[in-house]
Amino acid sequence: MRNRSTERLMTAVVLSAAGIVFSLFAGRSAFAVMVAPWFVLMAIGLAGHRRQPARLAVTVDSDRVFTDDEIELNVTVTGPRGRVKLTPRPRGRFAWSARKSGGRDGGTDKSMLGVAEVAGGGRPTTLDVTLRADRWGTFDVGRFEIEVTEPFGLFRQSAILTDPTAVRVHPSPRQVAEMAPPRLVRRTTGSHPSRSADRGVEYADLRPYSAGDSLRDINWRISARSDRLWASQRHPDRSTDVILLLDSFVESGHDVHAVVGLAIEAAVALAESHLAVTDRVGFVELGGSVRWVAPGTGRLQLQRLVDALLGTGLFANAADRDLAIIAPQALPPRSFILALSPLLDGRFRDALLELAGRGHDLAVIECDPAVTPPADDGPEQDAENPSRRAAQLAWRLWQAERRLLRDQLVQRGVAVAPWDRDVSLDATITELVRRRRRLRSVRRA
């Protein structure tokens, strides 16, 4: 810690020296008496000054919280007796709004969070600070400036405290009741009905009984009305590989944090629901950075996926990003790819078309880019204002371009379902399932 004198010591030294010098030169002891309080302050403060540096320790009560949840930050100070002040010094990714323990909301980043007396004598003093997570992501708790002022306020120790403890802020939990059934499944048991006929639960077809069939498969009702035995065929329940493909390209003109936040909320909910039915779930981020988590199952995989999703970096990157740089195990063949994207960046659109071309089972949840359309005050007003007319025209062209892209995807057999924050994710999945069914029937026809 850095130890320095305060303005109190400066004032006390100047006044004491001046008083004594005047007193001696003028031969009037009243001058010295007048500065006696500062002289006493200086003498007591210096006599009590200890060169023992204060030690600090920070603990966080939870390293995983949901958005708008609070965490308790305990700063323990051990050292000489004095008064301790804690002030946040936020960095770029400071995502917390600080609240003092037992006090009103701090609000501003630079406000002092707390003042307490340090017991001294090696006894620790704890300063509690409540932090509220404002948005999803992985953060450290930021930097704090801590000041320990000695009794009588003549000396002050200060230090910048950086706590590297990562706190993961999960988006608000969403529950998904319905899942989009995959077109292709793996051979392992799961809960998606396969199109093949084998042992399972869901009825598929009937066929004449043949040697080797299990007696359990004999359909006794049909066999009783016939002169031969009939065996029921069923769709076996299979699992699949679900790859959540997240678009993290930063495109100007929309609230990228809100849109990607929406996508991440959806991705976490989808990952939870698919992992619950023994699907293998993986994750690919295509955008400012390219990262992936190979498919896997279980609670550990969920943690891996959530950590990867929360670490999504949002920054503009003009570099070429295509699927060639993604490891093959991150996009296994016959996997079901669920893309979450506002469909704004051309590189992501190209990647979707390439995936469709590769024969992957692909579906897109189109997160609402939250772009506000230009004001429409009628043709008379627009005629008077050419720039407004140009904005209207640009808006219509942009909408047409987006429709064209959706049509291109549909032509490749990719269903696209729009989703905005006001609509439940379940309703969007239902719409996606409906569109996939319609696409399949159209393709069959």
């Binding site: 850095r2 006044l15 020296a17 007048m34 309080p37 002289f39 302050l41």
Partner: protein, 174 residues
């Protein structure tokens, strides 16, 4: 009324009282004294409003200058007035510093405030004790003897050496 406003108002009141004490019973140098007191009070009020701790400390210089001129102008020595002026200025300065800390910070426990007032009380009581002790010494030696000079110079020298030693150790490892 918030705590820092109360502290600032109390500080202003104490400084005003000190100013009145300085100006009172001054006739020959009244213009100089009043000018210095007004300047000191203005710097004090401005620094308190601005939140400058150093400014508040500096404002004591013209006030004490005024007190020096006033004491020099009056032939008889008044120890009581001198300690009263010094005490009022010290308490006012401390309260102004407190008001700044209260305004910058938000959470202040009662224990912290009580601790500050205890420290102020210790300083004032210590100053009164020293004054009483000095009075006793002066009663024993009414003339400005060599003993008193040696005592004052020795104490001041010791304090200054100790201060310089401490200031030289600002940077500590850790």
């Amino acid at each position: 009324m918030s705590l820092w406003v109360r502290f600032a108002v109390s500080a202003g009141g104490l400084w005003g009282a000190a100013g009145v004490l300085i100006v009172a019973s001054t006739d020959r140098f009244v213009t100089t004294v009043i000018q210095l007191v007004m300047f000191g009070l203005a710097v004090f009020a401005f620094s308190t409003g601005l939140g400058s701790s150093l400014g508040i400390g500096l404002a004591t210089v013209p006030m004490l200058g005024a007190a020096v001129v006033q004491i020099a102008a009056v032939p008889e020595q008044s120890w009581l007035r001198a300690i009263a002026i010094g005490g009022l200025l010290y308490c006012g300065t401390e309260l102004a510093w407190e008001s700044i800390e209260c305004r910058d910070g938000h959470q202040r426990s009662t224990a912290v405030t009580v601790q500050r007032f205890q420290e102020m009380a210790i300083v004032v009581v210590g100053a009164l004790a020293i004054t009483g002790l000095s009075l006793l010494v002066v009663e024993r030696a009414p003339q400005r003897t060599l003993l008193i000079q040696v005592l004052i110079v020795g104490t001041a020298a010791l304090a200054l050496v100790f201060t310089i030693r401490q200031l030289g150790r600002r940077q500590l490892p850790g």
